[in-house]
Point group: C2
Chain length 235, copies 2
């Protein structure tokens, strides 16, 4: 937690806030915060700054703060990711958020098991919590836009062409030899397939939607790692 | 598991192997392998190829194989990473391996807690298993060289200058504005700090060792994510 993210419910005055629950536990246990310590804080959807600990005990931590900085700008990036296994989902959503993607789309694909969509981790409160963890990691306050696209074809045929036409559209696929463009036109839409990859019919649909292949070489990377490598290459 | 990694102990003949344990469970449970199926296989430290399932039951899976491909070349990259929390260690070692680093150095730093070095996860058999998982993920057969540098100064003062002088030396550090070089001279040595970052004295030591700063921007990324972003930017 590199930033204590506050919600309007935490505010007890214009420049005061009160932390409880998970954030209190973390700030006491890991940061070992004491009265007078200064912490990096931010208001969800708003500004960031510094807070000074006024009081701390088992129940709550009180802060006085100055929020005078804008959060870092989002990357002009839509990450379209095939829905991963529930075990991987939380980390993937938090990582995509920490990388600064403006929009995250979780997409169905042939090799995505139906049961993944029914996982308790897909509940809005869990997905939101993972994005909050990503913001706290990266020192950001603005949630990305999250879309669940439970049907591959309507999303890829009706929405993806418009997204890709606004800038650069790419899909990761091994064995294509595709290189990312030397000069990048933003916004970027980047599609990453499931474990086991896209099937041929999906590749054709992505191509028809205006996406070009990008090949990360002979090594098969986990979705989360591939995402970070591609962000490093593109931005 | 995108490749079934075999050791000499698994071989039952020139072109035959027998899988048991974790790999058997995975290949049966996840790949749902049946007689006649073809799997991507490789021999630890050797060639890769295809194996055909001859027999499979609860006890073992027998394969007939042709190993006729070289593994992908390693990246000319030494990753020097401050030892992370044990909870993060396994994934970090597997990810660094999957990214193809030729050498991984786990380094002490001021903000690395002493207890991390005593974690059961630091046992050689566990570290090796994480590297094997990274190879299975990435479709590689060659273990990276793994070094444990329990003392910061001797490593940074006596060994790092030689590594950096052979090619490009970089250390990740926020707020420096450092850009990676436009033309990369290999081999690359890349140092990534602990949670909370390098302290000033460490930064000075890294600079004296010939490493230049590289800045990933205002977002603070997890070590594992930063590592992948940097590999994407550099290679």
């Amino acid at each position: 937690m590199n930033l204590v993210l506050l919600t309007p419910d935490d505010l007890t005055g214009l420049d005061r806030a009160r932390l409880t629950g998970r954030r209190l536990t973390h700030v006491r246990g890991v940061h070992r915060a004491e009265v007078g310590d200064r912490l990096t804080v931010g208001l969800l959807g708003g500004r960031m700054g510094r807070g000074t600990v006024l009081r701390v005990d088992d129940q709550a931590l009180e802060l006085e703060m100055t929020l005078d900085q804008e959060p870092p700008p989002k990357r002009p990036l839509t990450l379209v990711v095939a829905l991963p296994r529930p075990k991987v989902l939380n980390r993937l959503v938090a990582t995509a958020t920490s990388l600064g993607a403006a929009r995250i789309v979780l997409l169905n694909a042939w090799k995505v098991e139906k049961a993944y969509w029914a996982s308790p981790r897909m509940r809005p409160d869990n997905l939101r919590e993972q994005m909050v963890l990503g913001l706290e990691q990266a020192r950001d306050t603005v949630l990305p836009e999250l879309r669940l696209a439970r049907l591959f074809r309507p999303f890829v045929e009706d929405e993806l062409p418009g997204l890709a036409a606004r800038g650069t559209g790419l899909y990761a696929h091994p064995g294509t030899g595709g290189e990312p463009p030397g000069v990048l036109v933003v916004p970027v839409t980047l599609a990453i397939g499931p474990e086991g990859g896209w099937i041929d019919a999906e590749v054709h649909s992505l191509e028809r939607a205006g996406l070009a292949p990008v090949d990360l070489g002979p090594r098969i990377l986990r979705t989360e790692t591939a995402m970070a490598v591609l962000v490093g290459r593109l931005f």
